[in-house]
């Protein structure tokens, strides 16, 4: 029993951290009042560009430097995803086009772009598209902690640096939103842009920056997924599953009631449910249909929405101006 529980938890924790990072990016964007449905596409672009750059780098040099490799992977993923965020902002903030429409376009475009790039890339290689070097760097474990503490080591310290980076970033974003002036202003932009504007806060600047940085984080989640979760292998078909994970991240933001710290445990709930179909049969002999298990996160999100709306608690609502373009009042 326990020997089956540990792999489930390992899978769960690893997936949860990646999901939390993607959702963290989306949360930052939504806090500014932009409902970015482009997150799945953005993540695909981040993953594809990051992987391709690292693969090319490893192939090009004799002895790849681990540090350069990490900077390259994270940098390229972050920047390419950021461009998607900038594109989203241009359409929704500058041109004030409906956010849902543009978000969906960004996702369709992002998935298509990622597939196009990787198709071209896979054809240009020998066929076995793996980057073991990068996988090794990304999954390097903390020496002592990952070995000497028994079960704790196996469950909590069995992961690469991105796992801990994700948790740290969630804490940083939580502190940023609640304890800093810029964070306060950002929340105001998402809650009541007219009030923020009257207080001298540039709604345009905040929304652009939130979308760019948030998308960048989503891009990091993309490369995290590829290097650790997909074990450094790449196939065009992976893009579809990354897209599916992207939607999961969008739902997670709602499940977490727009609070960064809730993402940490919320993502774990999501991920345990999402992978239940793989581990339940071995553990308890129950067979769960894959699709049913993978539907669970969405079902519980809907339940959370129903419960929070019934409770009418103002604190657990999304940003009041979420999804609305801002027009300065003119007569």
């Amino acid at each position: 029993m326990i020997e089956n529980l540990i792999p489930w938890l390992q899978q769960g924790f690893k997936f949860a951290a990646f999901l939390a990072l993607a959702a963290l990016g989306e949360l930052l964007i939504e806090k500014s009042g932009s409902l970015n449905l482009g997150t799945p596409g953005t993540m695909c672009v981040g993953a594809a560009t990051g992987f391709i750059s690292v693969y090319r780098y490893v192939a090009a040099v004799e002895e790849p430097n681990a540090f350069v490799l990490i900077v390259l992977a994270l940098g390229v993923s972050f920047l390419s995803a950021m461009l998607m965020g900038a594109l989203y902002s241009f359409f929704t903030v500058t041109l004030r086009i409906n956010q849902n429409v543009i978000g969906l376009i960004i996702t369709i475009f992002g998935v298509g772009l990622a597939k196009f790039l990787s198709d071209y890339f896979v054809k240009s290689t020998s066929g076995n598209v793996r980057c073991d070097e990068a996988h090794r760097v990304f999954t390097a474990k903390i020496p002592f902690l990952s070995e000497e503490l028994g079960v704790v080591s196996k469950v909590l310290f069995n992961y690469g640096f991105m796992f801990y980076l994700s948790i740290a970033l969630a804490v940083v974003v939580a502190l940023f939103l609640n304890r800093t002036r810029t964070g306060l202003n950002l929340r105001a932009v998402g809650e009541n842009p007219a009030t923020a504007d009257a207080a001298g806060i540039s709604v345009t600047r905040y929304r652009y920056l939130a979308a760019c940085i948030g998308s960048g984080l989503v891009g990091l989640a993309g490369i995290f997924c590829t290097m650790e979760f997909k074990s450094g292998a790449w196939a065009v078909a992976d893009i579809d599953s990354i897209e599916a994970f992207g939607w999961l991240a969008v739902a997670l933001v709602i499940f977490a009631l727009w609070k960064p710290m809730n993402l940490l445990w919320g993502s774990l709930v999501f991920s345990i449910c999402y992978w239940a179909y793989m581990y339940l049969p071995k553990m308890l002999g129950i067979n769960v249909p894959t699709d049913l298990a993978q539907m669970l996160p969405y079902v519980i999100t809907i339940l959370v929405l129903i419960v929070t709306n019934l409770r009418k608690n103002r604190e657990s609502q999304g940003p009041a101006a979420l999804g609305q373009s801002y027009f300065r009042e003119e007569r």
């Binding site: 002036r181 809650e191 009541n192 009030t195 923020a196 207080a199 001298g200 806060i201 007569r331």
Partner: protein, 516 residues
Amino acid sequence: MDTQNKIAVSFRGVTKTFGSVYANRDVTMEIHKGEILSLLGENGSGKTTLMNMLSGIYCPDAGEIYLDGKQVTIRSPQDAHALGIGMIHQHFKLVDVFTAAENVLLGVKGREILNVAEATEKINTICRTYGFEIDPSMKVYDMTVSQKQTLEIVKALYRGANILILDEPTAVLTPQETDKLFSVLREMRKDGKTVIIITHKLHEVLAVSDRVAILRKGEYVDTVETATANEQILTELMVGQKVELNIERPAPENPVLRLQVEHLTVKGHEGETVLEDVSFDAYGGEILGIAGISGCGQKELLESIAGLQHVEAGSKVLYDAPDGTKEDLIGKDPKKIKELGVALSFVPEDRLGMGLVGGMGMVGNMQLRNYTMRKSILAEIKHSKELAEQIREELGVVTPSLNTPVRRLSGGNVQKVLVGREIASAPAVLMTAYAVRGLDIGASYTIYHLLNKQKAKGVAVIFVGEDLDVLVALCDRIMVLCDGKVNGIVDGRTATKEEIGYLMTNLKTEGGESNG
């Protein structure tokens, strides 16, 4: 102190237009340091526009603004903050889910890490100085309207405002809260702050201000010392000379009771009373005017009758249908009211918002009313097209085609389409709100003529208006609303503008005496 140093703000020839309409024309006036100045005027007299230019919401088209004798250009609310000008708008600019302290800190420059404790301390100091009562850790959504207003004032003071502008500050307050506000304003004056309150309540003007500046139709009229003023003088200055309008007013022909409104009470979003115990009758064959400062419950009154407003228990709207039946309209939704054979047409004040769909042409907008005519899944087109054509011809609507989106038409044409459609349903009661707002003279007369034709047909016309000259020239009877209460119903033929203006601004007390 010589006069140069006494003047805080001076406007020189300030003009602001919106399209072809002058909101302010050549306004030259001065505001003294350390005084409470009331800015008095009817609806649309340009009080708020003038102050919006001081607080950076609008930029003047012509003229200059001087602050402490220096010419200034105020391009944004931030510029105004920097110059020590703070304005408290009618609609509060607060973030609901933030605490009072967070709202105060919003947009203020300073160290990146928020120091809420320090801000709280500063807020408490401000509160102690001027006698505010506010809990910095309270969330805005838990606050009463009065507390929100206090928070807005504290916010302005925290940013170092020396000149404070309050737009209709007492509109949402109870009398006790108003008294408290006034005592705070007096404290601020003692501290050397300049306070400007935009208002049209005369007794408040007399109670709190040092001087009163009067605007009429966008132009500056005069400034009088409050000590030497009384309600009569102020009313006369506010409404001005009677303007003769050649609006025909045939005598009502055998009026019949159509609508009996009894004890109508409506509460607003914040729980404040918008309409209180309103009772009146409307007769077929007459035009009943409704006068009042804007926001005194006119909109809610019409919406209650049309079934669009939630009303408090005890309210009754009895409708006497032409066939002799009697129905209470309360509790019925707009469609049900129609199904019951109750012919009720409603022209909302926001023409393109609630009356018409801007993106649709005339035909489409006719279909909105006719959609139940045909009992099949296909939309009714033929009748709507005929109706649209008929309205275009009869009312002279200028439009490139019947399918041109109505939002591209001029205001007068849009209004004709809307009124034409409502009249086409042959109502027994026709309600209009600000039917001529923004229309030129010619278009306005077309509308008056239309209403008179309906009156001749025996329709009970309810006309909510804002121009007193029009009300006294067009209406048979005029009901005056003040603070959501009926403050008198006068005969349109004998009433004077001064009389109505006085009723609009001075609520009678229970004994029937004006409390001034």
